[in-house]
Amino acid sequence: MWTWFYRLASPPFVYRVAATLTPWFLGLAALTIGYGVIDGLAFAPPDYQQGDAFRIIYVHVPAAWLSTFCYTIMAAAGAVALIWRIKVGHAVAAATAPIGASFTLLALVTGSLWGRPMWGTYWAWDPRLTSELILLFLYVGIMSLRPAFDDPARGDRAAALLSVVGVVNVPIIHYSVVWWNSLHQGATVAKLGKPSIAGSMLWPLLSMFVGFMLFYGAVLCIRLRGEVLVRERQAAWVREAVKS
């Protein structure tokens, strides 16, 4: 079992496996997202309070979830790379950053568009929205710090440290609706036990969750291969891998 773990740290292994996994991730993502969008837009019944505007949930909530999910992965990969000096960890962190940032932006934009019909305003400085905005700034800071160093390895380590420092923001985002009187609604899906949302509305949402995560997996595999190549330029295995 541990040999499998060790292989995960090997750049040529990761390069090959990522190539194999990409079409699977992409295909499954297309299926789940496709189902989620079609069912969510066309067949789920309209909400008795918000009418059809609630359908924004099908992109907003998965995007928001992915924004923190990606940050956590980025921070964890960076921490692994720092502690155990596994370079592939830096590659994963670097590959995840732009993906996570784009989902954070999507969450903010879709949230803003949803806020207008729901609360009457495109923006409010309430804890959840504010901490999600801070998350975007954290992503930007990390993505700016990494290339600022002449030595890319040093840039990787600095970015990893910064992402670990910023991970404090992730629980704040999640618990902001619990700790404060927030404009933003509380947990509807993640509650253990009966979620407070109807089944016909829930299934497409869950499908979108899974679909977005699979999509992240696909894009990660593509980017990861690039990041691994960039970090392993002189290695012998690259010669063989790139020729094919």
């Binding site: 801070i134 710090l145 910064l162």
Partner: protein, 225 residues
């Protein structure tokens, strides 16, 4: 080998001595603080009552920005002439050295801000009854900021455009401080209890003061090597 507290006090004395030898560098952030707080009422030309409402935010933004200004030089001069590397190579714990520098920075910038804040507060129409909360929140917030800034300064020491990156890194981390600090002062002005916000500030301060030394040391090791 000197114990950690002794080490910190030695370093504190060194940092304070060095700072007081350059009084202009000491005063610049304070003057900046005064100028920025003046800019808002000038630019917005508001009545006294409205000024009072924006005062906590203005005060805190100014405090944040002026603390950032003095953060750049936290490690810079020592890094430039190689002293920092010598410190890292010496047997003395790097964490102690970082702690000494961060506390010195706070004494010279944050604590100074707390002292002159009543003056600025009066200019911004903050009632004297709110001064206590204002100063406590500023003290806690600037201490946290000195530590967050130490992490940022350690990560960006020696980089071109390091000061822009420093702000980009530190400001998002400092946003909760702004929210609670301004919130506490705001509640004090309107007469309600600021205890909740102050507790949050205290919690953030304790969290940062315990974890930041290690983060800043790790950052220095990465950038110095």
């Amino acid at each position: 080998m000197t114990g950690p507290l002794h080490g910190i006090s030695i370093l504190l004395r060194r940092e304070l001595l060095l700072s007081f030898r350059r009084p202009d560098q000491l005063l610049q952030p304070l003057v900046f603080f005064l100028i920025v707080t003046t800019l808002f009422p000038l630019g917005l030309s508001v009545q006294l009552s409205l000024l009072r409402e924006m005062a906590p935010g203005v005060l805190w933004v100014a405090a944040l920005l002026s603390s950032l200004l003095s953060l750049e030089s936290l490690f810079k001069s020592d890094a430039d002439d190689g002293t920092l590397e010598q410190m890292a190579l010496s047997g003395q714990s790097l964490t102690v050295i970082v702690a000494g520098k961060a506390v010195a920075h706070w004494l010279v910038s944050g604590a100074a801000l707390v002292v002159i804040s009543p003056v600025v507060g009066t200019a911004l129409a903050i009632p004297a009854s709110a001064f206590g909360t204002m100063m406590v929140s500023l003290a806690l917030g600037t201490l946290t900021l000195s530590w967050l800034g130490a992490i940022g300064a350690a990560l960006t020491v020696g980089l071109k455009r390091g000061n822009v990156l420093l702000s980009l890194i530190v400001l998002p981390l400092a946003m909760p401080l702004l929210i609670f600090g301004a919130g506490a002062t705001d509640r004090a002005i309107s007469g309600t209890s600021a205890a909740g916000a102050l507790y949050w500030l205290g919690a953030l301060c304790v969290l940062t003061c315990t974890l930041a030394p290690f983060a800043a040391t790790a950052a220095l090791r990465i950038t110095l090597e």
